[in-house]
């Protein structure tokens, strides 16, 4: 089967990839494609929180959001190294939920893995998260990884 793992550069998305690994049988997964979506019109089109904190971009103004997305997918792809499945990278741009669904359709995915970091008001009341929108229109099952709640 072909699994699409989405990353928005957040730590939660890396956790989602780990959760897939925690229960999925590597013998049954032929391909893993790590998808990142850049939103060109957003205030910050892509942020990579994975990997070492780079202090200071060398060349002023040379910040490349595409590079950020590339680095984020690399970090997630590294998780699957030696796991068994063939690992691919897929960068898209546009609206995250729509593009993740489109990638799943194009790649004929059997499972989409997304993280849902939201617990707050904005997620539930205002718009819904990317994860919600993906599971609403994905062409296949969706694994939504939720953040662990702090014990009370």
């Amino acid at each position: 089967m072909h699994v699409v793992v989405a990353t928005d550069g957040s730590v939660q998305s890396l956790d989602a990839a780990r959760q897939l690994k925690a229960f999925a049988d590597p013998a049954k997964v032929d391909d893993v494609t790590v998808v990142a979506v850049i939103s060109p019109l957003a205030a910050v089109p892509f942020v990579n929180d994975l990997g070492p904190a780079v202090s200071g971009v060398r060349d002023p103004g040379s910040l490349s959001f595409r590079q950020e997305a590339h680095d984020a997918t690399s970090a997630v792809m590294a998780e699957f190294e030696g796991w068994g499945a063939a690992v691919h990278r897929h960068l898209r741009s546009g609206s995250p939920a729509a593009e993740i669904v489109r990638a799943a359709v194009e790649l004929d995915a059997d499972l989409v893995v997304v993280a849902s970091g939201g617990q707050g008001l904005t997620e539930t009341v205002l718009l819904g998260s990317t994860a919600q929108r993906v599971q609403h229109s994905a062409p296949c099952p969706v694994l939504v990884a939720r953040p662990k709640r702090a014990p009370r």
């Binding site: 910050v44 002023p60 990278r89």
Partner: protein, 466 residues
Amino acid sequence: MSELPAAAGVAEAPAGELKRSITGRLLFFYVLGDVLGSGVYVLIGAVAGAVGGAFWIAFAAGVALATITGLAYAELATKYPQAAGAALYVGKAFKNPALTFFITICALSAVFAASGSLATGFARYFGSLVPVVPALVVTLLFVLALTIVNFIGITESVVANMVMTFVEVAGLVIVVIIGIVHLSRGDADPGVLAEFSTGGASPIFAIVAGVALAFFAMTGFENAANVAEETVDPSRTFPRALIGGMVAAGVIYVLVAMSAALVVPVQTLAEAPAALLTVVEAGVLPVPVSVMTVLFALIAMTAITNTTLVSVVTQSRILYGMAREDVVPRVFARVHPTRRSPHVALGFSAVVVALLLVVGSVVDVGDVDLVERLAAVTVVFLLFIYALVIVSALKLRREPAGPDAYRANTPLLYLGIVGNAVLLTYVVVDDPASLFWVAGLLAVGVALYLVQRLRGGRRPAAAGRE
């Protein structure tokens, strides 16, 4: 519109790894929408007052000069497609970190001032519908609302952007139709289009004064550099879409200016708080004036909102970029864990714009109104930036470019430098008080830099070394 979603998947990069989403058509509408919202709805009355009935010439000249600058942007954006703009180009051309820092601060200040001016313009149209709410309250709520919208991330919707652009164009088409109907009925005096209200001085001065204001109407095109990295086939698409969008906006402006001058006396235009509304209120079309007024005010507010949204995006992106370079405190690079938007930068920008608006409404001197003052401040910054960007384009000709990189016409670029410099001189001489605002905004940037230095960050000198 139905084929839009498909456009995202069209550009098949090697191995299907890369997909860019900004097609030429989307970029064209992005530029058009961004440019159209900024000036004509807000400033047309001021330009008319400065020039007289022939104020369409000021728009034509302003558009021409801006488009020349657009050529330089097109050349540089296809050569260095990272989503950066002026700071990157000047940095590459001069390799002088202090200058790069200064340009970045100028760009940031320009969008701050532009947001303030646009918010005030929004409040004028809003006030024509709901007169009871104080303008300052409207502007502050407007800025707050746009900041929240950006935080949530609605601006990432390319489709919404196109819809807003269509609405903006529709509003201006209404104005042009009114002008055509008025003219065809024989009610208009075409002679007004050649009149100058200069009070005896040379028409040249009147035009320069008008161009300086009309120039604000073209601002926003440089934001196209924001999305250069995500443009499909940029070396071919980008120049066409950018210049095409600017020329289309220019043609619309000139037609709207002519139409407004034909329908409404210039004096009325100059004195009205929301000038284009007076054209609609003239009652030329066989539609109830009250309906048209409400409709048009809504369209105008949509247009202004669209452009202000982009400037709010640009502000936070510049701050984010500077924080990533450790030039301003790192906290501005912080993004919200789930919404992935730079909430600190967004919040700070909103506070600065709000301060501008509060200061403007409390202390401002009597004779120049806040919209014009902040527009002039924006134009001062932008003319300086634009001139330097053109110089950078010429300087960077020595650097190798890709085989099919776009190359602007050289004599035109020289003309652009002269034009920007002349206008800059005029604006500063004409309204020296705007320099206080310029200094105030620059002080914000310098303060951020000093905070970063005191907290042990790097100088831009170190950050700028390649």
